[in-house]
């Protein structure tokens, strides 16, 4: 049973007598209109603070119903030199949101000769989600992304993590955030590691953080058929990007393989 919290998106759906989007069902096609096409979706994406910045990772599987569409989707996307988006939900809508953000942030930077501020970037994504509400309500376009950006108002610049609800509400994550059908198990592990683990995610160096990320995805894929996990035998790794004071960097499959094998 989904917990009802007054004022949140799920309460709104309940008050309108609309099918409730539970955490599990939000990422399946069960809420869709009977006439809607089968959607390509499902995911595990997450972000956490490690010692030198923010790490954002995601599996690479896309599913439509019980069909695995591909295991080569990049769900963690560079938006510009200092921000990253992780998408969970319907890729058709999510990729378009990413494209709108990429173009509008770069357009602003080039035309105004200054970077768009982090609060404005965070709100731009909230606005896109809000504009997508009709599709979300129809159950054919739900997107629940994560966003990480560099706050340049602090010295040195500080990478921050934000998560959203499908209505567009934005929240800053203190230590970590996760989204997608496999995020439940990930959140539990992250919470445990943050409280009782050693090292805590925020104390991990890059190698430890990447290792931890790959293990998280392997665990998520054991409990969620729609999460691809990783498979070193077929050289299938995750999409991992890090954001620090120098900007965004992608951790390649070769680097991930090396980190995974390292003791």
């Amino acid at each position: 049973m989904t917990e009802q919290i007054a004022g949140d998106f799920l309460s709104l759906l309940a008050s309108r007598q609309l099918p409730v989007l539970s955490a599990e069902r939000a990422f399946t096609a069960h809420n869709a209109s009977p006439n809607a096409p089968v959607q390509t979706q499902a995911t595990t994406v997450f972000a956490f603070h490690y010692k030198d910045g923010v790490l954002m990772g995601g599996d690479r599987r896309a599913t439509a119903g019980n069909i695995i569409v591909t295991d080569k989707v990049d769900k963690v996307i560079d938006i510009d030199a200092t921000s990253i988006l992780a998408i969970a939900g319907v890729p058709a809508t999510a990729f378009e949101m990413a494209r709108v953000m990429q173009t509008s942030f770069e357009y602003y930077r080039r035309s105004q000769l200054q970077n768009l501020s982090l609060p404005a970037k965070v709100r731009a994504l909230a606005r896109l989600l809000r504009e997508n509400l009709p599709m979300t309500m129809q159950g054919v376009g739900v997107v629940v992304p994560l966003f990480a950006g560099l706050d340049t108002q602090t010295n040195p610049p500080q990478p921050l993590i934000f998560f959203y609800d499908p209505l567009g509400a934005q929240f800053q994550a203190v230590g970590y955030a996760a989204s997608g059908s496999g995020s439940g198990s990930i959140r539990s592990i992250l919470s445990y590691q943050e409280k009782y683990g050693s090292p805590k995610p925020s104390e991990m160096n890059l190698q430890q953080a990447v290792q931890f990320t790959l293990r998280l995805l392997m665990t998520a894929s054991e409990f969620d058929a729609a999460t691809g996990g990783i498979n070193p035998e077929t050289n299938t790794y995750a999409t991992i990007k890090i954001l620090d004071a120098d900007g965004v960097r992608t951790i390649s499959a070769e680097e991930q393989s090396g980190f995974l094998k390292a003791k």
Partner: protein, 246 residues
């Protein structure tokens, strides 16, 4: 006046003279095609003469700041519109100049009752293969040429511009060291600024001391379209600190 061809021609000629007169004190800018990228160099006040337009495109200009701003915005709008409706790979300098900027500049120049654009500029496009790199010299009247030599100069007047370009192409032939190239460009900048000759130019020491003295309170704007960068946006600013300017 419009009904009388001779007077119209005279008006256009007067307009050309007026624009050149207004641009007379403009600070020259330079573009150089190199194996690792394209270099754009100017002396200005910071964010005033060299600009990023799109992922692989940049602009260097001299002229009235308001006109540079108008052209820059038009180019950025057109490039981003093209990239969003099609793809970033479809943004091309040929289309941007040939179908966008050049016709607008020509129309504006020939509308003799409106103010002309006071601008001379250079646009650059970076490709994966250096042989495909483009530098386009676009004039205030909308005419343009695709550069056939590695170095392109933007000057207020055609003669010193051509002389500087010839001299620089000879001086920089085969050179790839960016610091050395920037130093030579600044020497040419000083020679142009001082209205000195390129056929019998001052000594290298005099030229170097000249540009160092002349740029003391100004900003060296160095834009670099970097072929080796892995991200889509290839434009980076290079610091002018090591050259003793801001």
């Amino acid at each position: 006046m419009n009904e009388e061809p001779y007077r119209w021609l005279e008006a256009v000629e007067n307009r050309r003279e007026y624009v050149r007169e207004q641009l007379k004190g403009g600070s020259p800018t330079f573009g150089v095609k190199l194996p690792d990228g394209i270099l754009l160099v100017a002396i200005g006040s910071g964010n005033s003469k060299v600009f990023e337009l799109f992922d692989r495109h940049a602009l260097a200009a001299l002229g009235h700041p308001a006109d540079i701003e108008k052209i820059r915005q038009a180019a950025i709008d057109a490039a981003h519109m093209e990239a969003f409706t099609r793809a970033p790979e479809d943004v091309s300098l040929r289309r941007l100049v040939g179908f966008g900027l050049s016709p607008q500049l020509k129309t504006n120049f020939e509308q003799i009752f409106s103010a002309p654009f006071l601008i001379e500029m250079l646009l650059a496009e970076l490709h994966n293969d250096p042989a495909n790199d483009l530098l386009v010299r676009l004039h205030f009247d909308g005419s343009f040429e695709f550069a056939t030599t590695p170095v392109t100069v933007v000057g207020a007047h055609p003669e010193p511009e051509k002389a500087a370009q010839t001299w620089l192409n000879a001086q920089l032939a085969g050179k790839t060291d960016r610091e050395q190239i920037i130093d030579t460009l600044l020497q040419a900048w000083w020679v142009m600024r001082e209205n000195k000759s390129f056929t019998a130019p001052p000594s290298e020491e005099e030229r170097r001391n000249g540009w160092r003295e002349a740029t003391k309170d100004r900003v060296l704007e160095i834009g670099w379209l970097d072929r080796k960068l892995k991200r889509p946006a290839r434009f980076v600013w290079l610091s002018g600190d090591k050259f003793g300017t801001k």
